[in-house]
Amino acid sequence: MSSLTPQSSPLSSPFAHNNQSVRRLMVRVQLAVIPALLVHIYLFGFGIVIQWLLAFATLMVVEFTMLKLRNRPIRPFITDMSAMITATVLVFCIPAGAPWWIIVSGTAFALIFGKHIYGGLGYNPFNPAMLGYAFLLLSFPVQMTQWTAPTEILDYAVSFNNSLHLIFTGSLPQAALEANLTANLDMVSAATPLSQLQTGLTQGQGVTESLTPIALEAQTHYQNGSFINGFFYNTAQFFSLNSWAWVNVAFLIGGLWLLAVRAIRWQYPVGFLGSLTLISFIFYSIDPNTYPPVDFMLLSGGTMLAAFFIITDPITSSTTPKGRFIFACGIGVLVYVIRTWGIFPDGITFAVLLMNIAVPLIDQYTQPRVYGHK
């Protein structure tokens, strides 16, 4: 080691590290999703687990081929779990009973066109999950609107192999169909509150009338011999939240834990939920009949999923503190605009993609004040 020539590339400071790693960061986000996954299984049956397994298989195949093509070291990039989060988020966006090729093509499109075409982890400008979801929403509108009804409406939990059969053949097995007849529900799917609200509004009904049919369906629901008459919201054993709201609450809990372990920054949820609440409160107070109440807006569709898991993706969102807040507020406003005046029931995917386009500009003009500068 006593060579006097200058070293080729001297390993310079610092030599200490807090051994944070990309994988540890992504694992935390993955853990935060588990409560919502459990609630979803409890309320909507096992469809989502199968979808997730399908997504996981596709993701492994796609990542492996892409990394081989770009001759990148396979192990570190496959185990960095970033593709896993894309797949998980996508699985929550699609109906649990959707046919198998929906999730496979969605995940493949998301990973290839969303991430690897731009150069792999860290280089993609668009949020891969939202890109995949938009691709599915625009290409297969029919399959994407067949959401499975919550179990208390269907009166039985869609068992694992029933949903397996549903996903791969497109209909329930014969036995399940007869059992279903008594509750005179031929189909498994039902509209989500958001799409229910939208169709109601377009047909000129007020907010309350268009939301009550869910309660009516609950009324015809037959459980151990007596009718349970639902009222404004679809009743459930505890409090007055419908099952989609419960999934959102589960996301909220997972999200708060993420905030505590600093996996995500507070500007995202505060900006997004704050702006959404403000704008829906304003419109609600102007005309309660045509604009839904604030809590409905916050706890329906993928709001909480977006607030803590979609817009907080650091790669595709803005990177300066002020920029993050503007990014999140922008998404909140766009979500409200698309939900109220657009044709898509839940505008999150398009709102996120639109703000992803504006990220480079936002980063350029929101630099924080450096020490010693004005």
Partner: protein, 191 residues
Amino acid sequence: MEEWFISITAAILIFVGLAIVFGLLLGYAAVRFKVEGNPMAEQIDKILPQTQCGQCTFPGCKPYAEALAKGETEVNLCIPGGTDTMILISEITGLEPKEVEVTEAEHKPKETAFIDEDVCIGCVLCIKACPVDAILGATKLMHTVIQSECTGCDKCAPVCPVDCIDMRAPPVSLENWQWPEPTIKSEGEAK
């Protein structure tokens, strides 16, 4: 008979009228917005490396810049500038960027002329050749190169009858040592 006759004459009259109106407008505009000189030449001259080396077949950087501004020559003739100057020129002139043939000059550190003093016979030829007067000396007296002024254009070496000038990179010292750029391992090929 008159029907189509009227519409044709109307069409002709309309178009002639429009042409006249727009012609007058543009004529007035051409006079009022007269622009003299060609700012592009100075702009290009500013980005050229000013070595005055003449490898672009022009006597100096300014003539090459003017030729480029007039669009008479290629964008990729500036060898010391290398590809980044060529890209800048193509952006300013709007011409299509072209590959620079001789590119090995780009990676080497800048070389300056160095006179081997015991061979030099004081013939003043190199002093006449140097475009920036960086060589100090007089007839019959010892010549030497002012290292800080020399642009490395290599015009003096071929002129010297006794070939005592060669191009040398400055020695690495504490003042000009540069931190090397770290190579990110994962960007390279698979392990």
